[in-house]
Amino acid sequence: MLAGLLRRYIPGDTFQPDLFEPKSMKLSFALLTAIGAGVAQFATAADVTGTVTLSGTPPAAVEIKPLETDPVCGKLHTEKVFTEFYVVGANKELADTIVMLKGDNLKAAKADAGASPVVLDQKGCLYVPQIVALQTGQKLVVKNSDVAPVAMHNVHINPTAGPNSSEYSTKISQPQMAGAADLTYNFAAPENFMKFQCDVHPWMFAWVTVVDNPYFAVTGKDGKFSIKNVPPGKYKIVALHRKAAPTGMEKEIEVKDSGATADFTLEAK
């Protein structure tokens, strides 16, 4: 709303100072110039959208029999449970691909303290979702929605970036009993597909990607992604899938006021 109001009076490069009282003109002009410059950028920020598809035939999903035959966890599922390494739509749309912007003009920035946390749940003895992305400094909340008789999970993280490893060197593996409080993580350094696992239930995995800027998204089941509020400029855009090749397909895009699009085709060799 604020952006709309200001845009109405200060339409970017068509700013007209004579709309204001002469006495306070100097101060107001300086103030509004500063606000205007910031908002103008915000106002012209646009979305980068696109679709990720898969070429080739991926290996078939495998039934997770250790889960189904587990005397406790098996009872939580009435249907067969399969791996979700390649979630591919009818038209080869590829889900669970991380798409992120990179570039010299994108300074590394941690998330604001008030940024809403990303939630990773443990439900039915599975991590939900299995692919997660968040910004450096953004909270990751790991919940345990499983209740008795699932006595516990054991959240075992595998950070590879130095600062993340150091920060959690004594908290690599943390038990989380049924009904226990959420575990909270806050990673300072970017890294791709940090493995989260449960050592009690060795089929449970999630992969967490930490990005050092706010411009990233994860493709949905329709293969689509939308990176919001990207300032105009030239960037590299990277698509990362945990399995499909190549690992990190890169393109160059120019984001204009109207936004930009970038489509990717990854390969299941």
Binding site: P59, A60, A61, V62, I64, K65, P66, D70, V72, C73, T83, F85, V150, A151, M152, N154, H156, I172, S173, Q174, P175, K195, Q197, D199, V200, H201, P202, W203, F205, K243, A244, A245, P246, T247, A268, K269
Partner: protein, 421 residues
């Protein structure tokens, strides 16, 4: 030199210790096969509980395997301490008390100096206390003859070191420690088997046989050459077990999924593009680490060494069957059977996508193969010492004609070997 008659209860206790160790290796195999090594993240406690008081209601998922492994290992530790007291007789009391005291003091010192290493301190204090208690038990028997006390002391130190390694593997998250832990477990099992062998009635009779007739027509060198081949083949099996432990403890599952070919070829490609392709096509349920070129090559070497072992053991069995009838021939054929079984299990491990029960049996048969090779090596090593100048074939034939390994577990007369009183 004559040896004292065997003590059947000591022998039975040694056999029990060896069997318990084999079971421990099996449970350890289940831990890695189920990727459950880290399912209890603390040590020597279990989820904050004293290990021995951890409620069974919480033994779920991988915890069942890991916690059972810890408890079983503790029991094996106690068996080994008791075995040392029995074999070492009253003479072992003082050194055992010193070792226990040193461990307790070391544990307390670690607590005080390095608070971050309190797990190690707690372990040392606990195990030192157990050793001190064992030293207080009054055994009046004499120390066992020969190299038995040495072997018992060796197993005593190894079992404690193994406990420490197992714990450090958990708290330090080091796969390398796991590889060493698994390899040392195999050597430890061999030592317990040798103690069982050397406390047997069969072994005593073997040592007591007199060999008065010189025979220069059959040089002793042929026995020595057989012994050399047994030793070399056993060393090759140990090398193979180290390769297996390395593959197992990298937690990457199967690096090659087909057999007898490898990715459809005699020798698979290991360039980066191929490795990327292999990983893209893997659908791994538990061993989720991506495979590397090194791991692919490692499995290929494991396959090649398996063929070499099969050839070597076949040759050993054939030669022993022809020239050394009796216990050596029978044991060699048993060894050959184990290796055949092991090769089949190796192929089955690949073809079943490393099913936990198949992979664990593969570990167990590997341990038995190593122990059998070691036993044959020791037995044939002993022939020249007791039968200098006698035809090896004649000597062995004489000795083993009426002896069978079945007798090894038979009941002997109560004798001079140390008996606990």
């Amino acid at each position: 030199m004559t040896q004292p008659a065997p003590n059947r209860w000591l022998h039975r206790f040694a056999v029990l210790t060896a069997l318990a160790t084999l079971a421990l290796i099996g449970i350890g195999g289940l831990v890695t096969s189920h990727e459950a090594g880290m399912s209890v993240p603390d040590w020597p406690n279990s989820y904050g509980y004293n290990m021995f008081l951890f409620p069974p209601s919480k033994w779920i998922g991988g915890i069942l395997y890991e916690h059972t492994h810890r408890l079983w290992a503790s029991m094996v530790g106690l068996l080994v301490i008791a075995l040392l007291r029995w074999v070492g007789g009253r003479q072992s009391r003082k050194p055992l008390a010193i070792v226990g005291l040193v461990e307790v003091l070391a544990g307390i010192a670690i607590f005080a100096i390095w608070p971050n290493e309190k797990a190690t301190g707690g372990f040392l204090t606990g195990i030192g206390g157990m050793v001190l208690l064992a030293a207080l038990v009054w055994f009046r028997n004499d120390i066992a003859p020969g190299s038995l006390p040495l072997l018992a002391w060796l197993t005593f130190f190894i079992v404690q070191f193994q406990g420490l390694l197992g714990g450090l593997r958990v708290v330090l998250f080091k796969d390398q420690i796991g590889i060493f832990h698994a390899t040392l477990a195999q050597i430890f099992f061999v030592l317990t088997c040798l103690i069982a062998l050397m406390t047997s009635r069969w072994w005593m009779k073997w040592a007591n046989i007199q060999h008065p007739t010189p025979n220069i027509q059959h040089p002793i060198a042929s026995v020595r050459s057989l012994n050399g081949i047994f030793v070399a083949t056993t060393a090759l099996i140990l090398f193979q077990l180290i390769l297996g432990a390395t593959m197992r403890h990298q937690h990457a599952g199967l690096s090659i999924h087909d057999f007898p070919l490898a990715y459809g070829k005699l020798w698979p490609a290991t360039d980066p593009a191929s490795i990327e392709q292999y990983n893209a096509h893997r659908v791994e349920l538990t061993n989720i680490n991506p495979i590397t070129a090194f791991q692919v090559q490692l499995q290929m070497v494991h396959r090649i060494v398996a063929v070499l072992i099969l050839a070597a053991v076949s040759w050993c069995a054939w030669k022993a069957w022809r020239k050394f009838p009796g216990a050596i021939a029978k044991t060699s054929v048993f060894w050959f059977g184990l290796i055949l079984c092991q090769a089949t299990l190796g192929a089955a491990t690949v073809l079943t996508d490393k099913a936990a029960d198949v992979a664990t049996t593969h570990v167990l048969i590997g341990a038995l193969s190593l122990a059998t090779g070691a036993a044959l090596s020791i037995i044939t090593l002993r022939i020249p010492q007791s039968a200098v100048g006698v035809s090896p074939a004649e000597n062995v034939s004489r000795q083993t004609a009426s002896m069978d390994l079945d007798e090894a577990t038979g009941i002997g007369t109560a004798g001079k070997m140390p008996a606990a009183r």
